[in-house]
């Protein structure tokens, strides 16, 4: 009796579970079909849009057409996408004409409306479009978005600020960049590169020299965005004063000025092998003939990378040619040093 009751319950559960799963499957398939139909309609609409607007945008690179077709509200997203795409590709007069075209089509208002929408895609497109339009009146809006929790929006806003008032924007961005763990250093480096060294150098140096030691590593990915001549004294200063291997490595990677040679030589004997690797590389760039003995000693380092970079540095030193290299190789007693020098000689085509 108990078995029968159990079996009955189980049977019903299994049966209705199966039927429920099949019904849900049918619903999902129907939704899939509807989505595909929607996609096809959207693609057709996009084709029509492209047929009309691509030639107009191409013409607008040189002159704004006298009359423009009406842009339906449902095509705004597509207009912004195509327009942003061209703006990302182009520089100079063409972008100014395209901006005039967008404003003539009311896209500045549309973009601001997009920024207010709930959809993240709309907000991103709207903000990116305003970034390219670089209108003074959007400064406050960009400033609001710089503090946005969403990293994508805040980084686009950072870019927008540099397009509107670069000199004022850079200090704001640098201050945020050391606070925001969710910002991508690659994106920020791109923004600073785009702003150019003239705009970045002075605020960067001012900011960097006031930064506490523990935050300096956060600025290292952006060293290349400032003028080389201004960068070298900063590196020289950090190489003398900073202790963190991360900072030392960052500085050694960028150092180009022989003024830093004493510090670099000292760091070739650093306890951290990552520092020794980059000190060896730096000696390859700025070292003198008298650094040969120091680099030869590094050929016997216990770390492969130190030996490898030291060998590369050795063959780059002034006065090092195939003959000198062979003589050096013959005089080496350490097999590790000999092997690595042989490898680098072949890599550089010196044998």
């Amino acid at each position: 009796m108990d078995y029968a009751a159990h079996s009955d319950l189980l049977l019903r559960l299994a049966w209705w579970g199966g039927i429920g799963a099949l019904a849900l499957t049918f619903l999902l398939l129907t939704q899939g079909v509807l989505l595909r139909a929607q996609l096809m309609l959207r693609q057709r609409r996009e084709r029509r849009f492209n047929e009309t607007w691509r030639p107009i945008m191409a013409q607008a690179l040189f002159e704004i057409p006298d009359s423009l077709p009406r842009l339906p509200a449902r095509s705004i997203r597509q207009f912004l996408q195509l327009w942003i795409h061209l703006m990302e590709l182009l520089r100079g007069e063409g972008t100014r004409n395209l901006t005039r075209l967008a404003v003539a089509c009311g896209m500045d208002r549309a973009a601001r409306a997009c920024v207010e929408k709930r959809s993240m895609t709309d907000r991103v497109l709207g903000l990116l479009a305003l970034t390219h339009m670089a209108q003074e009146r959007d400064w406050e809006l960009m400033l609001d978005h710089l503090g946005q929790e969403n990293p994508l929006l805040s980084q686009i806003a950072a870019r927008g600020l540099t397009h509107i008032r670069p000199r004022e924007a850079i200090p704001l961005i640098l201050a945020q960049s050391v606070q925001r763990k969710d910002w991508s250093s690659v994106r920020i480096a791109n923004i600073l590169e785009e702003a150019g060294p003239d705009a970045v150098t002075a605020p960067f140096l001012q900011f960097a020299t006031q930064l506490p030691s523990e935050q300096i590593p956060l600025l290292l990915p952006y060293l290349h965005t400032i003028h080389e001549t201004e960068l070298q004294p900063l590196l020289f200063y950090w190489l003398q004063t900073e202790q963190s291997p991360e900072v030392l490595v960052g500085c050694l990677k960028a150092v180009r000025d022989p003024l830093a040679l004493p510090a670099v030589r000292r760091l070739a004997g650093h306890a951290d092998w990552a520092v020794r690797v980059h000190a060896a590389s730096a000696l390859g760039r700025i070292g003198l003939e008298e650094d040969r003995a120091r680099l030869v000693a590094l050929l016997s380092d216990r770390e492969w990378w130190v030996r490898y970079r030291a060998a590369q540095a050795l063959v780059s030193l002034p006065g090092m040619n195939a003959v000198a290299l062979r003589a050096l190789q013959a005089g080496l007693t350490d097999p590790y040093g000999r092997d690595i020098l042989a490898q680098v000689s072949v890599e550089r085509g010196l044998v």
């Binding site: 078995y3 049977l11 579970g17 039927i19 799963a21 099949l22 996408q81 991508s184 042989a342």
Partner: protein
Amino acid sequence: MLQGLANAMQWLLLIYFLGLTLGYLLLNMIALHAVANSRASRSLDSLPHLYSGLEPPISLLMPAYNEAANIAGSVRSMLQLAYPEFEVIVINDGSKDGTMDVLKQAFALQPFPEAYRVRLPTRPVRAIYHSTRYPNLRVIDKENGGKADALNAGINASRYPLFCAVDADSILQRDSLQRVVRPYLSDPRVIAAGGTVRIANGCTVSRGFLQSIGLPRNPLVLFQIVEYLRAFLFGRMGWSPINAMLIISGAFGLFRKAAVIAAGGYRTDTVGEDMELVVRLHRIYRQTGQPYRIVFVTDPICWTEAPEDLKTLKNQRVRWQRGLMESLWLNRALLFHRKGGLVGWLAFPFVLIFEGLGPLIELGGFLILAAAALGGAISWPAFGAFLLLAIGVGLLLSASALLLEEITFHVYPRPAQVARLYLAMLGENIGFRQLNSWWRLLGLWRWFIGTKGHWGEMQRSAKWQSDK
């Protein structure tokens, strides 16, 4: 006795299918949420990209064993990838078919006096060559030791901080490296990233790159396409946001070299070296409390050839199941470990029950129910109801994967292709899945009795490949 066993089996099956459905639907929800979150940033993907100069250089490792027919084309396609700085290291794992000769001829290889570092022990390296035509190509010729051993040799010779393990027959998109490296650029905790692998059979491939997307005629491959969608779209897309993804496909995965070396490299005593490494990384990082992320890149960035005949497919599935069980068993300390987090307390037991022991429960359960029905302990309609439940749940999961594909990438452009996938979904759940469960059960058995595994050789048709 039979009545009691049948009753217990019915409850077990009911709970099993309920757990399976709820688990996968939950993963589906997480995947949908992740898709919605990434939609805004994906809208920027179509914009032109410039290199920032901050992309870390990558060593691409290609183990090759008896790949003479395809190796030159594969290496050429890898050399054409769009990425600022990368090297290609081909590891010839003691091939017997002239793979090394093909490589020497195609790429003008010369012996190279590399100061080779043995950071991971491997079978002896016979020689290292470099290409006089392509400065970023090197070839390691070593004694046969299996794929894991070959990868370890590649890691030893690699020069860059990230390495990408690629199967010699993988077809990558030109921007695959750019896409898979993105998680590393935005989060320094990332130690491994994998991408969606799709099936290339039926597609047109020219000079190692995908030219057009199509579907094969072979129903066996169509079934596998539905299966792959299910595995990648919500299997991995669902686990990744909660940092609990247990596998990165051996066909294409990007790893932080220092993390892999510290973990001991690939294990050579398992057939599932790709999964085992990922589970081990989870275990080590969890146990030591180090912050880390193992992430999944949703874009379809790697295409691979699926088996077209039953024998090859069976071998593959038996191997995969063994690999799965070995990976879990070797890292069983992670299961319910107090520092295990969501991996140890959710993903590990889920994968163990529904993927590891799933075939045993499904097939064993139905065999017992069939015996009970034959013996009169349960009625045939009761047996039918459980069969309906099993097929219904399978169809539901496949349909949700197809829907997710429609929402996200809609890779197959023509409606007729989508219709064929819907039809394939039926076949996949009625017949193929049961056959697959049988093969997986064999894999489970071979793991249990401890049969020694080997790399395995695949019958490749490569009908879709063209050198023109």
